[in-house]
């Protein structure tokens, strides 16, 4: 399946902004983070389809995953 990974702030360094990632069936968000070499401690805000998600959430083909490091405050 193909997942769209959207990375933000410092997570873009060396990786890019928007990536299409091929993953096997049953893969989770943690598998995606592992494929992109993103350390769990750098995952502060995690969204799948714009909703809060956890690293153990299974993914489906075509889903959009947004990952932010610790940032924010307005």
């Amino acid at each position: 399946m193909t997942i769209e990974a959207r990375l933000f702030a410092t997570l873009r360094e060396g990786r890019g902004k928007v990536l299409k990632v091929e993953l096997g069936d049953g893969a989770t968000v943690a598998d995606l983070a592992g494929r992109l070499s993103i350390d769990r401690k750098d995952v502060a805000i995690l969204l799948v389809g714009g909703r809060d998600a956890r690293l153990d959430r299974p993914l489906s083909d075509g889903e959009i995953v947004s990952i932010f490091p610790p940032v924010g405050g307005g």
Partner: protein
């Protein structure tokens, strides 16, 4: 007294008298300082039913006990007055260096009364205070005003001033200090303009007396470690400033777009904090004693200066459908020059764009100006200038979106609460934040209880933004806690990392008291309730604890919050009950008595 200087400067602009008064110690202990003390002084001195732009209103510049001390971010002051925009109590907070300098000069607060017969400014050099002629400064923008005053009084002077918007009584006018820091909201700059007061210049040579230097050093170290270790205050804000929120809020589907007609902006990346850092950021621009340094300094074409903040980028960007970050920076610059609140300015342009989109505003009304059309980048810069100068259609814009929309018979198109423009978060997808917007004592505002912290950022813990259960209780605690932070003289951003006990420790070390974290929050609840009392006496009742009809009735059309409206009526009864108020939203005698009110 420790922490406080024990002195208030009272300036009557009508008869030009300048008096020194002793700070009422009991009042200061009970209401802390800043927002709390200022509101109590307003309650005692200014009839809430007064016309906000009449000489009977007063303008109070109030510091906190930690302002000017060796505490993290200890440089804040509050401008407290009755708001001409909302009719509520107004208290607008600002950083920079002015607040600390006022403490160094030996004052806790300045109270301005009456109205000068011609433009004046106040010059304060420690206890030497004089009113001087500001005739030559009237009409000048902030950079010109500040340059002239620095030339006259030296570049060590700290300067607070209004721009042409405040002089012309724009209801969106801010009080500016240190060139581009703003006590931005609720039209406080118009109150200053109504008094013919152009500026306040301060130089101080003293220092704030601290009760226990060793305890302060220890509490400071604990707080600094928390700020540095926290991902938001230690890394996120220092690296990207507040603008990094653009993508976060947009990815969550709560980024109001085209005057809240939509909640996702497809060009958000172009106006994001990441884009700002890559293209236009020149340096950080920190406030007094701030270890976070979220302030930005940007350059574009021949424009340079402070900002833009997240809220500003949203207001002129997404809310106006504009994706040109360059033009957003220019609009921000002109807001700072004319002295206008960037949130209300951008949101008012967005409302005008919807009026034009719906055919209610005719093209001819723009005269030789650009069309106020969603996505038209030229229009946000030019109309910000004309709003500031009050020329042509700009004079209508200068009154804010509520009065603009009302004049076309459609006040419901104004995205305001209590006539103040809502900031950069669509409450249809953030349940607690919607309650906070509706109940804010100064109208549409995000910093009276920043529920974005738990509902989006996950601090101090992550809450589901679409869940309603338990949220009214969170809103109450955030509102009370914030009221105390706003009163003590520190920046609200410290609360991403620090808890109530940390503030109490700093306060105790400076003031020589023994309050607990719980006492600190209770003071905030007292402040919240006295603000509410002021508003009720001013005729702003619980019927105004609401949201614009669009947010209650029109479902979000697309994106992660698709189909949502805000269920406010289901949440308000619990909020009122937790506040100890009656079912109609009026504080009970029992609650007021419990708080010593």
């Amino acid at each position: 007294m420790y922490g406080y200087n024990g002195k208030i400067l009272r300036v009557n602009l009508t008869d030009r008298s300048i008096k020194t008064e002793a700070l009422d110690e009991a009042k200061a202990r009970k209401y802390i300082g800043g927002r709390g003390l200022g509101t109590k002084m307003m309650m005692d001195e200014v009839d809430p039913s007064v016309d906000a732009l009449s000489p009977a209103n007063k303008l109070m510049i109030v510091t906190g006990p930690l302002t000017g001390t060796a505490t993290p971010t200890g440089g804040r002051y509050m401008a407290v007055t009755k708001s001409p925009l909302t009719g509520t109590i107004a208290s607008s907070n600002s950083g920079g260096y002015f607040g600390a300098e006022l403490k160094f000069a030996g004052w806790d607060a300045i109270v301005f009364e009456g109205k000068a017969s011609a433009p004046v400014y106040l010059n304060v050099v420690d206890d030497k205070v004089e009113l001087l002629d500001a005739g030559k400064l009237w009409g000048k923008v902030l950079s010109e005003t500040t340059d002239a005053l620095e030339q006259a009084h030296g570049d060590k002077a700290r300067i607070l001033a209004i721009g042409p918007a405040g002089e012309r009584l724009s209801l969106l006018a801010a009080i500016m200090n240190d060139r581009w820091r703003a006590a931005g909201r609720s039209g406080v700059g118009a109150v200053m303009g109504s008094k013919n007061l152009k500026a306040v210049v301060v130089k101080g040579s003293g220092k704030v007396a601290v009760a226990d230097e060793a305890a302060l050093k220890e509490a400071f170290a604990v707080c600094m470690k928390k700020i540095k270790d926290n991902g938001v205050t230690g890394t996120g804000l220092p690296t990207y400033g507040t603008a990094v929120l653009v993508n976060i809020i947009n990815e969550n589907g709560v980024f109001p777009t085209n005057n809240f007609q939509e909640s996702v902006f497809d060009k958000a990346e172009e106006i994001s904090g990441e884009a700002l850092a890559e293209k236009y950021l020149k340096k950080k621009d920190p406030c007094f004693r701030c270890p976070i340094a979220c302030g930005r300094y940007c350059e574009v074409d021949d424009i340079k200066g402070g900002g833009p903040e997240y809220e500003t980028i949203w207001a002129f960007g997404g809310d106006c459908g504009v994706s040109s970050l360059k033009d957003v920076i220019k609009a921000n610059y002109w807001c700072n020059e004319y002295g206008i609140d960037t949130i209300s300015a951008g949101a008012t342009l967005a409302a005008a764009m919807e009026l034009y989109q719906k055919g209610l505003v005719k093209k001819t009304e723009f005269g030789d100006g650009p069309e106020l059309k969603f996505g038209n980048a030229d229009s946000i810069v030019e109309w910000t200038k004309r709003m500031g100068a009050g020329t042509g259609f700009g004079a209508k814009l200068a009154k804010g979106s509520y009065r603009l929309c009302e004049s076309y018979g459609v006040p419901e198109l104004s995205m305001t609460v209590k006539k103040q423009e809502l900031p950069a978060y669509d409450p249809r997808g953030i349940m607690g934040h919607g309650v906070q917007y509706a109940t804010s004592n100064r109208g549409g505002c995000h910093v009276r209880g920043y529920m974005i912290s738990p509902e989006i950022l996950g601090l101090p813990e992550k809450l589901d933004r679409l869940e309603t259960a338990g949220k009214p209780g969170w809103v109450k605690i955030f509102q009370d806690f914030t009221a105390s932070i706003d009163s003590v003289g520190l920046c609200l951003f410290t609360s991403f990392a620090m808890g109530a006990d940390d503030y109490a420790a700093l306060y105790n070390a400076v003031c020589g008291t023994k309050i607990t974290g719980a006492d600190f929050v209770t003071s905030g609840e007292r402040i919240w309730n006295i603000e509410k009392q002021y508003n009720l006496a001013a005729g702003i009742g619980p019927d105004q604890d609401t949201l614009p009809p669009r947010l209650l009735e029109e479902p979000v059309p697309a994106g992660p919050s698709k189909g949502r409206v805000h269920p406010l009526s289901q949440m308000l009864p619990e909020y009122y009950s937790l506040r100890g108020w009656d079912a109609k939203g009026i504080p009970t005698k029992g609650k007021l008595s419990e708080l010593g009110l």
